[in-house]
Amino acid sequence: MHALIAASSGATFPVLTALVVTPILGAVVLLLMPASRPEHFKQVAFLISAVVGAMSAWVMFEFETGAAASFQFVDRADWIEGLGISWALGIDGISLWLVVLTGALFPLAIVAINAEHTPKAYFSWILVLEAGCMGVFLALDLFAFFVFFEIVLVPMYFLIAQWGHGDRAYAATKFFLYTMFGSAFMLVGILATAFLTAAETGNALTFDLVEIAESQALATTTARWIFLSFALAFAVKVPLFPVHTWLPDAHTNAPTAGSVILAGVMLKLGTYGFLRFGIYLFPEAAVYFAPLMLTLGTIGILYGAIAATMQRDLKRLVAYSSVAHLGFIIIGTFALNTEGIEGGILQMVNHGVSTGALFLLVGMLYERRHTRQISELGGLQKPAPIFAAVFMVVMLSSIGLPGLNGFVGEFLTLIGAFAAHRWWAVVAASGVVIAALYLLWAYQRVFHGPAEGENATMKDLTLSEGLVMLPFLAAIVFMGVYPKPVLERMEPAVDALIAHVEANVDGFHEAEADELHPIELDDLEHLESDDADHGEGE
C-alpha cells in the first residue's frame, strides 16, 4: 500500500525526527539543570512537551489528506548499514491521530500533576516516555520500532516503582515482566521476518517495513507463526484477555500521570501494532486469526465490564473499564473493513481522551480525599458541583453517549463488526449496557447522596485544574459532534490497508456493508459456515 512514499511533503525540516528527539534532549536538559530550584523542572518539562505538542499540531495541519494513504514527512537515514537497519520515520492517516494524541496528552499530564518527590528524575522519565511513544507510532523500520517499543518500558517501570502507591514494586515488576515476556517473542518474530524474507527474496537483509510488507515472501505457515509472536507482544500491551492482569495493578499503583499516559497512549501501542505490523505484514495470518482475536476482544468487553462492576477502588474500576474499551478496538480492527478499522482507530483516540481524563479526575479526587475507596466517598456533587459536572461529561463520553466522542467510534466499530461477523457485534453491543451499569453506579455512590465528614468540605475544581480539563472536554464534544475531519484524514490509509489485505489474501473480500444487501438471514447456517470458512483459511 505504501509503495509510493510521498517526497516528504516539501518539508525540509525533519519534523518527525524532532518529535522523537526533542523529548530526549529535554530529558537531558533536565538532568543537567541544577537542583536548587525544583519548581523549574516542571516548567521546563512542560515547555518541552508543549513544543512537541505544537510540532505534532503542525504536522496535523500540514498533513495532506489526499495523500493520507502514503507516508508523509518521511525521514530516512541509514542506521546500521550492515544489517539493513535504518532510521526511518513516517506518518500516515493511521498514525496521525495517535501522534497528535501523544503530543497533546503529555503536556497536560505534566502540567496537571506535581511530582510527589524528586521532580528532576520524574519529569525526565516522562519525557523519555514521550520519545518512546512517538517513536513507536512513527517508526517504519522493524528494528527501530522494536527499540522504541522497549524504551517505553523503562520509564514506565520507574514511574510506577518510584512514584507509585501501594504495592508499587510488585505492580512495576509485574508490568515489566509481562511486557518483556511478550516483547521477547516479538524480537524473535522481527528477526525471523527480516532474515526469512531476505532468504526468500534473495535481496539484501532489510528491516524496512514497507519493503517487507510489499514483498509478502513468507510461506503461509511461517507467516502465521510469526504473526502469533507479534500478536503476543501486542496482546499483552493492549491488554487482551487473558493477559490483562498486569493492567489493574499497574494502574492502581501508578502515579496519576503514569495512569493517564498508560491508558491514554501506551495501551494503543498494542492496538496500533496490530494494525501496522500485524495486519500489514501478515495479512493472511490476520485474516486467519481474526475469529480468535474477535473472540478475545468480545470476551474482554464483557469480562472487563463485569470485573469493573465489582471494584471498590475507583481507579481500579476505571482500569478494568479500559479492558472493555480496548476489546471494542480489537473487534473493530479485526472486522477488517473500513468502518471497523476507522472505528477502532477513532476509539483509540477516544479512549485516550476519555480514560485519560477519568484518571486525571480520579487523581484530583485522591489528592483531596486521600482515598479512592468508593465506600468512603459520597455526596461530592454538593461541595464540588463543577468537578461532578466534568466527571459526568467524561463518564458519559466513556459510556458512548451520542453527541460525545465515544459514540461515533463505538457505532462505527459495531457497524464494521456487524458486516463481518454479526454475532460478535450483537454480543459486543450488550457490553454497552454494562458500561453504563458500572460507571453510573460508581458515579451515584461517589457524587450523589448526603455528603458527610471530609466529603462535605471537599474543594471544587480549581481554575488551573479546570484549564487542564478544558482541552479534554473540548475534544470530547468536538469529536462527538463533528468527527468528519478526523475520519477524513484516516480513511485513505485505512482503505489502502484493506486493499493490501485483499490483494494478498486469496478469496478475502472486505466484508463491506453494501455487499450484504439483501441480508439473507433466512439461511443462518450458511452464514455460520461462512464464518467457519474464514476460520479455517483457504
Binding site: 507463526w225 447522596g449 438471514l521
Partner: protein, 788 residues
C-alpha cells in the same frame, strides 16, 4: 446496486419526498436548535440573569412553539396543495381514497395510469376528500460524516407525524417551563433545572424531526440522559438517585435492542449504504427486504420500545421515575419522552407492519404486549397511595393502548391517542403537583383529602383531565380510545368495524382497560379531593418540597398561583377539545369536512414509505358499549368511595381512605391479589434482587475470582523466579542508580551527569542482557519449530 438506484429515484423523483418546499418546512431544524442554544446560554449565563435563566428557556421554547405552529400551518397547506413535479411519471404514487366505513382496504395501491387523472381533479371534491394530492414529506439533510462509502447524514424529515410532535412537545414544554418557575421556585438548583429542561426539549425535538435512524438513536439516548439527570434532580436523597439510575439502566437494556435493530435495518433495508428513514421504509414497503431480517429488526426494536415506553415487563422504572420533580414527570414521563418508543414504531411502521405481520392477523407481539400492559398497568394504579404513582401506572396503561393500537394496525388511532394523552396526562400531573405544592406531599391517604375546598380551580382541571383520560364523551380521550377499539377490528356486532385483522382479544383487553381507568381515577379523585383533609401535620421528611422556600409552608393548603393554574387551564382546554380534531369519518352529526382531519393531515397514507393499512369504520354500538364500560367502572368506584366510604367516614367522624372490612380482609384470594399488586408483580425483586444482584454479586465476584486466582495465580507462580530476578534489578537500579541520581542532583549538574553515566554503564545493560538472552533462547526454539 439496485438499491441505490431505487433510493435515488425515490428521493429525487419526488414520489413521497421533496427537498423544496415552504420555508418553515425546510427549516424546521431551527425548532430543536433554539432550546439547544438556550441550554448553553442558561448553563453559562443563567445564574447572572434576573430570573436565573428561566427567562432564556421560556423565550427559546416559546419561539420554538411559534415556529412549530407556523410549520404546522405550512404543513396543512403543503399537504393539500403541493403539486409533485412530474407526478404522472412515478408509479410509486398511491391514491388515497379517504372514504371510510368500508371494510375493504381503502387504499388502492399504485394506480399508475389513473394517478395523473386524479392529480388534475379539484382540490376540494364535493365529498370533502382531497384524494388528488399525494402525501409528500419534506426532507432537508446534510452530511455529518463519511466512512467507507457510507454517508452518515444529519437532517430533518417533516411530515404530518413530525409536525404534530413538534407542536405537542414544544407546547407542553413551554407550559411546563412556565409552571416550573413557580413550582421549583427557590430550589437549590433552579438554574440547573431549567438548563436541563431546555436540553431535554432540544433532544426530544431533535429526535422527532430526525430523517435517519442513526439520528434517532442519538436523540433517543440524549433524552434518556436528560431524564436521568432530571429524575435525580434532588440527588441528595438516595431513593431519587436510585430511581435515576434505575431509569437509565433499564433503558440501556432496551438500547441493546435499539442498536441491534437499527443496525439490522441499516444492512437489510438500507443496503448497508444509508440510514435514511424514507429509503428504509420504502424498501420494506416495496417488498425488497427479507422477511426474516424484518422479524429480527422488529423484535430487537421491540425491546427498545418496551423500555422507553414503559411496556410490561420493562416498565418498572417509570413509576420510580416519579422521584423527579413533578414538572419533569409531566413533561418527560407522561407527555413526551415515554412516547418516544411509540413514535419510533410509528415512524418505522413498515418494519413492524411487515415484521410482525400486523395485517390480516389476530395476534402479534406488539399488540399483545400493549394489551397486557394496558390492563396490568391499570390494575397497579389501584393500589398506589402516592398520587403521582397512580398517574404513572396510568401512563403505563395508556402507553399500552398506543402500543396495542400500532400492533393492530390502527396507526392513526395510536398517534392520535399519543397526541390527546399528552395533554390530559400532563394536565393531571401538573394538577397533582399543584396539590402537592400545597400539602407538601404526594401521599393521598396521609396528607390529602378534601382538597376541593382549598383548591377549587385545580379540582376542576383535575376532573376534566380525569374524564378525558377515562374516555368520557365528548372529551379528548373518548375519541382517541374509541378509535383504538375500532382499529382492533375485533368488534363483531352490527357488521363490525373492519381494520387489519380480527384482534378480538385485544379489543377485550382495551374494554377492560377502559373500565379500570375510570375506576382508578375515581378512587384518586375521592382520596385527593373529597372527604376531609387528613394532612396538616407537616413533617419535613417529605420529599421534594421540603426544600422549597414556600410562603404557604404552614397552615391550611392554598390554591396555587397563576403560573401554575394557567398551564392547567390551557391543558384542560386541549383535554376537552383535542378529540374533535379527528371525529370519525361517517360520524353523522357533523359535516364531512370536519371528519378525520387529524388522520388526513398526519397519516402518510399512500406515501411510498408507509405500508398500505386498512382502516376500521366507526361503530355506534362499539362506542356505546365501551362508554358504558367506562362509566360502569367509574360508577363502581364511585359507589365504593363516594357512597360507602363517605358514609362510613361520617359515621366514624374521621376521613377514611377505604372500608375497614374491605374485600382484602375477608377474602384470602383477594388478599393474595392485592399483595401481588402491591409488590408490583414482584418484577422489581426479580430485577434488582435476582438479576442485578447476581451480576453485581456472584457473577462479578466469580469473574474477579477467576482473575485473581486463576489467571493471576498462574502468572504469579510462573513469574516467581523471574520476579526474584526483577527484584534484584529493582533493588539495584532503584537503590543504586536512582538514589545515586537523586543524591547526585543535590550537588552540581556535573554529579547528575555521573548518575546518567551510571545508568548507561551498568544497570540498563543488565536489563538488555536479560531481554536478549531470553530472546535468543526463544529464537532457538522458534527456529526449531519453523524447521519442522
Amino acid at each position: 446496486m439496485t438499491l441505490s438506484v431505487l433510493a435515488a429515484e425515490a428521493v429525487s423523483g419526488g414520489s413521497s419526498v421533496v427537498h423544496d418546499a415552504n420555508w418553515f418546512l425546510e427549516n424546521a431544524w431551527l425548532i430543536p436548535l433554539l432550546p439547544a442554544v438556550s441550554f448553553l446560554l442558561i448553563l453559562f449565563f443563567g445564574k447572572r440573569m434576573p430570573k436565573q435563566g428561566a427567562e432564556i428557556g421560556i423565550a427559546a421554547v416559546g419561539l420554538s412553539l411559534i415556529l412549530a405552529v407556523l410549520t404546522g400551518f405550512a404543513w396543512l397547506d403543503h399537504r393539500d396543495n403541493f403539486e409533485v413535479p412530474g407526478t404522472e411519471e412515478h408509479a410509486l404514487v398511491v391514491e388515497a381514497d379517504g372514504s371510510a366505513g368500508s371494510d375493504e382496504l381503502t387504499l388502492t395501491a399504485a394506480a399508475e395510469e389513473e394517478s395523473d387523472e386524479h392529480a388534475e381533479t379539484d382540490e376540494h371534491a364535493d365529498e370533502g376528500h382531497e384524494a388528488s394530492h399525494p402525501y409528500v414529506a419534506v426532507q432537508n439533510s446534510t452530511q455529518w460524516l463519511q466512512s467507507g462509502g457510507i454517508e452518515f447524514n444529519a437532517g430533518i424529515l417533516v411530515d404530518g407525524l413530525s409536525v404534530m410532535m413538534l407542536f405537542m412537545v414544544s407546547l407542553v414544554s413551554l407550559l411546563v417551563h412556565i409552571y416550573s418557575t413557580d413550582y421549583v421556585g427557590g430550589d437549590r438548583r433552579y438554574t440547573h433545572f431549567f438548563a436541563f429542561l431546555s436540553l431535554f426539549t432540544a433532544s426530544m425535538l431533535f429526535f422527532v424531526v430526525s430523517d435517519n435512524i442513526l439520528q434517532m438513536i442519538v436523540g433517543w439516548e440524549l433524552v434518556g440522559v436528560c431524564s436521568f439527570v432530571l429524575i435525580g434532580h434532588w440527588w441528595e436523597e438516595k431513593p431519587n438517585s436510585d430511581a435515576a439510575l434505575k431509569a437509565f439502566l433499564t433503558n440501556r437494556v432496551g438500547d441493546i435492542g435499539l442498536l441491534v435493530g437499527m443496525i439490522t435495518l441499516f444492512f437489510a433495508a438500507g443496503g448497508g449504504l444509508t440510514f435514511d428513514t424514507i429509503t428504509i421504509n420504502s424498501e420494506i414497503v416495496a417488498g425488497n427486504v427479507s422477511h426474516t431480517a424484518l422479524v429480527v429488526a422488529a423484535a430487537s426494536l421491540m425491546a427498545a420500545v418496551m423500555s422507553k415506553s414503559g411496556q410490561f415487563i420493562l416498565h418498572t422504572w417509570l413509576p420510580d421515575a416519579m422521584a423527579g420533580p413533578t414538572p419533569v414527570s409531566a413533561l418527560i414521563h407522561a407527555a413526551t419522552m415515554v412516547v418516544a418508543g411509540i413514535f419510533m414504531v410509528a415512524r418505522l411502521y413498515p418494519v413492524f407492519f411487515e415484521g410482525m405481520q400486523i395485517g390480516g392477523s389476530s395476534i402479534n407481539l406488539l399488540a399483545t404486549v400493549g394489551a397486557i400492559t394496558l390492563v396490568f398497568g391499570g390494575l397497579l394504579a389501584f393500589v398506589q397511595d402516592d398520587i403521582k404513582k397512580v398517574l404513572a401506572y396510568s401512563t403505563v396503561s395508556q402507553l399500552g393502548y398506543m402500543a396495542m393500537a400500532l400492533g393492530v394496525g390502527a396507526w392513526t388511532a395510536a398517534v392520535f391517542h399519543l397526541f390527546t394523552h399528552a395533554f390530559f396526562k400532563a394536565n393531571l400531573f401538573l394538577g397533582s403537583g399543584s396539590v402537592a405544592h400545597a400539602v407538601h406531599s404526594f401521599d393521598m391517604k396521609k396528607d390529602m383529602g378534601g382538597m376541593r375546598k382549598f383548591m377549587p380551580k385545580t379540582y376542576v382541571t383535575f376532573i376534566i383531565g380525569s374524564l378525558a383520560l377515562a374516555g368520557i364523551f365528548p372529551l379528548a380521550g373518548f375519541w382517541s380510545k374509541d378509535e383504538i377499539l375500532v382499529g382492533t377490528g375485533g368488534w363483531g356486532l352490527f357488521g363490525g368495524t373492519g381494520g387489519n385483522g380480527a384482534y378480538t382479544f385485544h379489543l377485550t383487553m382495551g374494554m377492560i382497560g377502559a373500565g379500570l381507568t375510570a375506576a382508578y381515577m375515581t378512587r384518586a379523585i375521592y382520596l385527593t379531593f373529597h372527604g376531609e383533609y387528613r394532612g396538616g401535620h407537616h413533617d419535613e421528611a417529605h420529599g421534594e418540597d421540603a426544600d422549597h422556600d414556600d410562603a404557604h409552608a404552614h397552615g391550611d393548603p392554598h390554591e396555587s398561583g397563576p403560573r401554575i393554574l394557567v398551564p392547567l387551564y390551557i391543558l384542560s382546554g386541549f383535554a376537552i377539545l383535542a378529540g374533535l380534531l379527528n371525529l370519525p369519518s361517517g360520524f353523522q352529526l357533523v359535516p364531512d369536512s370536519w371528519q378525520e382531519r387529524f388522520g388526513h393531515f398526519i397519516e402518510p397514507a399512500g406515501a411510498s414509505y408507509f405500508p398500505v393499512i386498512g382502516h376500521g369504520g366507526p361503530s355506534w354500538s362499539l362506542a356505546i358499549v365501551s362508554s358504558a364500560i367506562a362509566v360502569g367502572g367509574g360508577l363502581f368506584a364511585f359507589y365504593y368511595y363516594f357512597v360507602r366510604v363517605d358514609r362510613m367516614s361520617k359515621q366514624l367522624g374521621e376521613s377514611l381512605t377505604g372500608l375497614p372490612d374491605g374485600l382484602t380482609s375477608r377474602n384470602s384470594l383477594a388478599r393474595v391479589g392485592h399483595k401481588v399488586l402491591v409488590e408490583k408483580y414482584y418484577l422489581d425483586h426479580l430485577y434488582t434482587g435476582v438479576i442485578a444482584g447476581f451480576t453485581k454479586g456472584p457473577l462479578a465476584r466469580a469473574a474477579y475470582w477467576v482473575n485473581q486466582n486463576v489467571i493471576d495465580r498462574a502468572v504469579d507462580t510462573a513469574g516467581t523466579t523471574s520476579v526474584r530476578a526483577g527484584r534484584v534489578i529493582y533493588d539495584r537500579i532503584d537503590q543504586g542508580a536512582i538514589d545515586g541520581l537523586i543524591d547526585g542532583t543535590g550537588k552540581a549538574s556535573d554529579a547528575s551527569g555521573q548518575g546518567l553515566r551510571h545508568i548507561n554503564s551498568g544497570k540498563v545493560q543488565n536489563y538488555a542482557a536479560i531481554l536478549f538472552a531470553g530472546a535468543a533462547l526463544l529464537a532457538g526454539a522458534f527456529i526449531i519449530i519453523l524447521a519442522l
